[in-house]
């Protein structure tokens, strides 16, 4: 029997050796199972869900930190299905930190808290999504990539439609799930073509690059574009952005803040790993340039016309995606630190803005920017935080957003001899100026406009206010001492 499978003992040895690299993921799997089974017995015990999720995430984080110090070189594990390297672990840790920040936010969101079935199911979806995010960041193979993307997609459909007993949410959920499955079907067809053209689904090694050179320009460009379309959907880059404003507007604010950060970090982490394998031809770069320019222009210009605060932030998120995509025309070696810093700063500021908006929504019931008039007199602390955070998102010194944008621009200027880079930079500068107009609409209404209404606050969600202030201080500190993030 064994003669027929000469590789089997070697494969098993490889798998056994690889198990130790995935401790963080195993903890998440165990935590997920504990939560979903324990919830059957401890019905609606909110504390159990919180403790289980918190403990799982912390333990997984400890394993990741230990791995970070242990692993120096990149290794392929599980017969080339996954890759383990310090970069991968850094992206995983960033995702984990973002999840931990979002965790108290989920518990403060009144729309999730009032759900008749309780919040524990939501937490189990969150843990499952975390596994998907980790697998996507580490994937070295198109099969793993597809599984990771699908795990994230399915978890996020459920998160957006979690409150589907409300009409608007059910509607946004349906749009999201239909767009999402079409995008992943297109990506799948691209993957099947890549497999046919190159004969391999391993991203590493030279086989795929050689295969693309062999089949010619048209075939390789069609298949790569279809693959990137699926990833572009998860990044909510133009022209795959249709779901973003609707889903952001009606989904619970905490879910939106999580979905605007964590999946983006994972997909950017993956793109960072796969970029050298696709950059051989022109296709990848041209796709990135077109999508980045379109995202920056459409995101920032459409944001000007929004009155719903969450919708405005969703369009600005599309703009930020385009800004980060810009980096991917550079060679892989130059962008890691810049990309990581920008992602971290963007995620923290975005989550803090959503927390402030959620605080306002919980206390006053306001969602439109025009309703924010003269709120600055009532909640000056939140107002000041919003000013700092929005200035950081725009990129005004001394906030962290300025350092991030400065790093991106200086990395791009080094490669200015390509003509496309010049156009990218011009669009980036112009749209940054445009973004000032819509971001500063919120502080303008907060502090400068007068209002006759005298709203009575509901006095709740003090924790959200505290978290917003803490995150704002983090953004300020990172702006003044950007080295803090590079230390680990």
């Amino acid at each position: 029997m064994l003669q027929q499978f000469p590789n089997i003992s070697q494969s098993i040895a490889d798998i056994l050796a690889s198990l130790s690299y995935l401790q963080g993921e195993f903890v998440l799997v165990v935590g997920f199972l504990t939560l979903i089974i324990g919830d059957l017995f401890l019905k609606k015990t909110r504390l159990f869900g919180l403790l289980c999720t918190l403990f799982t995430l912390f333990l997984s984080g400890i394993f990741l930190v230990l791995d970070l110090y242990a692993s120096a070189t990149a290794t392929l594990i599980f017969n080339g299905m996954l890759v383990a390297s310090a970069t991968v672990i850094k992206f995983k840790l960033l995702v984990l930190v973002i999840t931990l920040i979002s965790l108290p936010f989920f518990y403060q969101d009144h729309r999730l808290r009032q759900h008749p079935k309780g919040i524990n199911d939501f937490m189990s979806i969150l843990l499952a999504m975390e596994i998907g995010l980790f697998l996507l960041i580490g994937s070295a193979n198109l099969l793993m990539l597809y599984i990771g993307v699908e795990m994230i997609s399915i978890a996020s459909y459920l998160m957006v439609a979690y409150n589907a007993y409300q009409k608007d949410q059910a509607e946004a959920g349906m749009k999201y799930v239909l767009f999402g499955t079409v995008a992943s079907a297109i990506m799948l067809y691209g993957i099947s073509l890549i497999y046919g053209f190159t004969g391999t689904i391993n991203l590493h090694g030279g086989a795929m690059v050689q295969g693309f050179e062999g089949v010619g320009f048209l075939a390789s460009s069609i298949s790569i574009t279809m693959l990137l379309a699926g990833l572009g959907f998860k990044l909510s880059a133009v022209p795959f952005h249709f779901w973003t404003p609707d889903a952001y507007q009606v989904a619970p604010t905490s879910v939106v803040s999580f979905l605007s950060a964590a999946p983006k970090i994972a997909v950017f982490g993956l793109l960072y790993y796969i970029m050298p394998f696709f950059q051989e031809g022109d296709v990848f770069n041209q796709f990135i340039i077109a999508v980045a320019i379109a995202s920056m222009l459409l995101g920032n210009i459409a944001a000007l016309y929004q009155d719903n605060a969450k919708r405005m932030i969703s369009y600005s998120a599309i703009g930020h995606t385009g800004f980060m995509l810009m980096l991917f025309v550079l060679p892989q070696g130059q962008i890691l630190d810049v990309l990581f810093f920008y992602l971290a700063v963007y995620s923290v500021s975005n989550i803090a803005v959503f927390m402030a908006l959620s605080y306002i929504e919980n206390n006053y019931g306001y969602l439109q920017i025009s309703q924010f008039k003269a709120l600055g007199k009532q909640i000056p602390a939140i107002g000041a935080c919003l000013v700092v955070l929005l200035m950081s998102l725009t990129g005004i010194p001394p906030m962290a957003g300025f350092v991030a944008k400065f790093l991106v621009f200086s990395a791009m200027v080094n490669a200015i001899d390509q003509s496309a880079v010049l156009w990218l930079l011009v669009v980036a500068v112009v749209t940054t100026v445009v973004s000032l107009f819509y971001y500063l609409k919120i502080p303008l209404n907060f502090f400068l406009k007068q209002s006759d209404a005298n709203p009575l606050p509901a006095k709740s969600s003090a924790l959200l206010a505290v978290l917003t202030i803490v995150l704002t201080v983090v953004v300020l500190l990172l702006g003044i001492f950007p080295g803090l993030l590079g230390g680990f």
Partner: protein, 101 residues
């Protein structure tokens, strides 16, 4: 003799039909059927290409994974669509107009 070209032509036709269905249909369930056609096109591609990959059988394994994940995605989509139908008594995406912009 059925060659690779025949398989590829059929799968391309399936994919195009599915995409056409997704774009033109006015019913969420019919859109899902179009999506299912698109996914099946890529399974067919995978298995057809796998003929030339006898040693590893990557395509066949990939096909199995696609079948499972497609079933999961469609189950989730159906749950969400059913929930919407209970609220608004329609599953026509163009008739649910409370979200705009």
């Amino acid at each position: 003799m059925i060659t690779l070209q025949h398989f590829l032509l059929i799968s391309a036709a399936l994919f195009a039909l599915g995409l056409y269905g997704v774009i033109t249909r006015r019913n969420a369930i019919q859109i899902l059927m179009g999506i299912e056609l698109m996914i099946n096109a890529s399974i067919l591609n995978m298995v057809a290409f796998s003929k030339f990959d006898r040693a590893e059988n990557t395509g066949q394994v990939f096909g199995l994974f696609i079948i499972i994940l497609a079933a999961v995605a469609v189950a989730v989509a159906l749950v969400i669509i059913m929930n919407l139908y209970k609220r608004v008594q329609t599953i026509d995406p163009s008739k649910t107009k409370s979200l705009k912009g």
